[in-house]
């Protein structure tokens, strides 16, 4: 009964402050829309410079592959000087250079060298672009051998089978990861200031003289935000599936359980910050530092954890988002694979336990 009153009080408080509602519902929608469309690693229509020193039928055959590809939008340049200047200005991402003796060398045994220069500043993008160039090149080889009526002579050919995401759409793995990042933000933001605010305003003392126990105060704080957070989560999942067309191959109950575990950890982290700081200013600063950037960079959402150096890899284990990203990517793209889901869920349970354990110890009914 007493509990119900407390929860009601917190709910009312939440409802009256529009910012909490905004955090829970508006934030995921805006962020997911912005990032779901904005964050993409698939380059299309990459501007490249074509420098053909001596245009003829052979070079036209070669450049035609690039002109028809949706990955490139070639721009013709008359000389290397102009093309290089364009690259320095950032107008093109790469240069494809066919020398004047291209058509002669194509007919010789050694073959004609084609010079490719890519802008290596964005190394990842540069690698993707040179991958596309290679794709266009092997398509041209196939055309060549067909038109000359000779069989393609390739010793070993790679035959790739990509599971779970056969078209390698980056959105399909980024959107589930984004949900994890966004939920980290929401969980942390909702609760980061809550306890600190009560301490700062002195209402904590007022609550203390009432017969409610600390556990009840904490639960009263937690329940409304949990409900809000799950609402935001549900909204994100709906958007991922309907708006972005990410396949959901696992089951909804699994997703629900995993999300509630993660939300507990995220809210717990916010509450912990708030309890320890006892000062909204510091709590706010700490929340900015520990929630967003670690979830963005260390969770495996965009940077592969296996490729990090060992100490960093060990460190990522304290980032809750890491487990949730793994769970979400698996549930969305691969299905209910228990060997992945269970260890991650277990880690989340342990983290939630630790957070609430510390909160309980630190927030005894006691004044300083």
């Amino acid at each position: 009964m007493r509990m119900r009153g407390l929860v009601r009080k917190e709910f009312l408080q939440v409802m009256r402050d529009p910012s909490s509602i905004a955090i829970a519902f508006l934030l995921p929608v805006i962020l997911l829309l912005l990032f779901g469309y904005g964050v993409s690693l698939d380059a299309e229509h990459v501007p490249v410079a074509l420098v053909v020193e001596h245009p003829d039928a052979d070079t036209a055959g070669f450049t035609g592959v690039f002109r028809r590809s949706r990955y490139f939008s070639p721009i013709d340049f008359s000389g290397m000087r102009a093309a290089e200047y364009a690259m320095r200005r950032g107008l093109v991402e790469g240069i494809i250079h066919l020398r004047s003796d291209f058509s002669r060398q194509v007919r010789q045994a050694g073959g004609a060298p084609v010079q490719i220069i890519v802008n290596g500043i964005d190394a990842n993008n540069a690698r993707l672009i040179s991958g596309y160039v290679e794709g266009a090149w092997s398509m041209w080889r196939r055309h060549m051998s067909e038109s000359r009526g000779i069989s393609l002579d390739i010793p070993v050919q790679v035959e790739q089978r990509i599971w779970f995401n056969s078209e390698l759409r980056s959105r399909d793995f980024l959107v589930p990861g984004l949900i994890a990042v966004i939920m980290t933000l929401i969980g942390g933001l909702l609760t980061a200031l809550v306890m600190a605010r009560e301490w700062e305003r002195g209402t904590m003392e007022a609550l203390m003289v009432t017969p409610v126990s600390m556990k009840e105060i904490l639960l009263g704080k937690l329940i409304p935000y949990f409900v809000l957070g799950m609402g935001g989560m549900a909204l994100s999942v709906v958007m991922a599936v309907w708006q972005f067309g990410v396949p959901l191959r696992g089951s909804l109950p699994v997703l629900f359980i995993a999300s509630s575990l993660f939300l507990l950890v995220a809210l717990g982290m916010g509450l912990l910050i708030s309890t320890l700081a006892k000062n909204q200013f510091v709590a706010g600063q700490v929340a900015i530092i520990v929630t967003f950037l670690p979830a963005f960079i260390l969770s495996g959402f965009i940077f592969d954890i296996n490729s990090m150096p060992l100490p960093i890899r060990v460190f990522t284990h304290v980032i809750a988002a890491r487990y949730f990203v793994s769970i979400l990517q698996t549930v969305f793209l691969a299905g209910n694979i228990w060997q992945v889901l269970l260890p991650n869920a277990f880690a989340l349970i342990i983290m939630a336990g630790i957070f609430f354990g510390i909160i309980k110890r630190k927030s005894r009914k006691r004044l300083e």
Partner: protein, 361 residues
């Protein structure tokens, strides 16, 4: 003005929050944030017993990008390995691999790869393709097979080994500078409003401009200090080349700080409570970072979102940082990036100053 500094420095927790985390974060993120793949776990399913098959597998064994973690003998073993993320990919040589190769046919190397992280999958495939291409060239030369009619000679400018750390670490300079300035500015006015000291400040003979300068200066000084430390770390710890001039770099830093402080103060003076200030800071910070081109190129975004990024000071700063660090870009090539930051800074600072007076409640 001195008061602002003191109030920031007096709060011990605040002080720790502003100085320590950026350094820790630089080191952790500098190492963590890389797109280069190392130690990709893979399994070998070799049904071929020939020497040629062993040769091509040796190419993977010798690469630091891959590390073999399983050898399997049955097709049924593939699925659990990939499902459970024990390996990222399985290399499969069919029973006729060596025979096909020796008799002049095309042998096929089957790669089964986990596409859950499509970028990792794509990069791993491109590593595989280059190992196979090298093998092909060698094989064609040794066995007198006809080479391709044209081959690609690829060179990367500015970053010859395509190290993504060179790309990411200068970005982190911008990232952390932005976070620190937001920390210092975004809650400052809101806190004073909540505590009522801001009203006192307004009734003093100080003009809004002076209050504005007082609020902006600590952020500027702390920001420049942090940026300097981070730049030093980037150059001496992470060994990222700094080719351009320091004057260009610091012009960029100063203009960027101006715009970041402006936005931070604007948020802060719009907010009535600290909670709203925090929310506002996040609402700016998160999109500003994700849509800045820090990790994913702006050119890949849909046109509408590309227009939105024009309002983002981070976007221009990223270009300046990478241009100065890696390209050694001269001042005049970067003017197009510098003036938008100045405009954003001036407009947002003016708005903040106006809001000081006019947002009473």
């Amino acid at each position: 003005m001195i008061k602002e500094f003191l109030s920031l420095l007096k709060d011990k927790k605040s002080r720790v929050v502003v100085v320590v985390p950026p350094l820790v974060q630089l080191i952790v993120f500098g190492y963590a944030a890389t797109f280069d793949l190392t130690h990709v776990p893979y399994a070998v399913y070799n049904e071929d017993r020939g020497a040629a098959g062993r040769d091509i597998l040796a190419g993977f064994g010798g690469s630091k990008n891959f590390s073999r973690s399983a050898v399997i003998t049955h097709e049924e073993e593939i699925r659990p390995l990939i499902d459970n993320k024990k390996v990222l990919l399985v290399l499969h040589l069919g029973p006729t691999f060596s025979r096909d190769l020796l008799s002049g046919r095309t042998a096929s190397l089957q790669v089964i790869i986990d596409g859950r992280n499509s970028n990792t999958a794509m990069l791993a495939l491109s590593y595989i393709n280059s190992i196979v291409r090298r093998f092909n060239e060698q094989w064609a030369a040794e066995h007198g097979r006809r080479g391709p009619p044209a081959m690609l000679v690829t060179r990367a400018w500015f970053n010859p080994n395509l190290e993504s750390r060179w790309f990411i670490v200068p970005g982190i300079v911008g990232l952390l500078t932005l976070v620190v300035t937001m920390l210092v500015t975004a809650l400052s006015v809101a806190r004073e409003r909540e505590q009522g000291t801001f009203d006192q400040l307004l009734v003093t003979p100080l003009r809004p401009v002076e209050i504005l300068i007082g609020k902006a200066l600590p952020g500027l000084i702390i920001g420049i200090f942090e940026a300097t430390v981070i730049i030093l770390m980037a150059v001496f710890w992470f060994r990222v080349p700094l080719l351009g001039s320091l004057i260009t770099l610091y012009t960029g830093v100063a203009l960027f700080l101006l715009s970041a402080i402006g936005v931070g103060l604007m948020i802060s003076s719009l907010a009535v409570t600290q909670q709203q200030g925090l929310l506002g800071a996040f609402l700016f910070l998160v999109p500003a970072i994700i849509l800045s081109g820090f990790t994913t190129p702006i050119a890949n975004m849909p046109q509408v979102i590309q227009y939105i990024t024009l309002l983002n000071p981070m976007r221009y700063f990223m270009v300046v940082l990478r241009g100065v660090f890696l390209e050694g870009a001269p001042f005049h090539l970067l003017i197009g990036q510098l003036w938008p930051m100045a405009v954003i800074g001036v407009v947002s600072l003016a708005a903040a100053g106006w809001l000081f007076r006019h947002r009473m409640y």
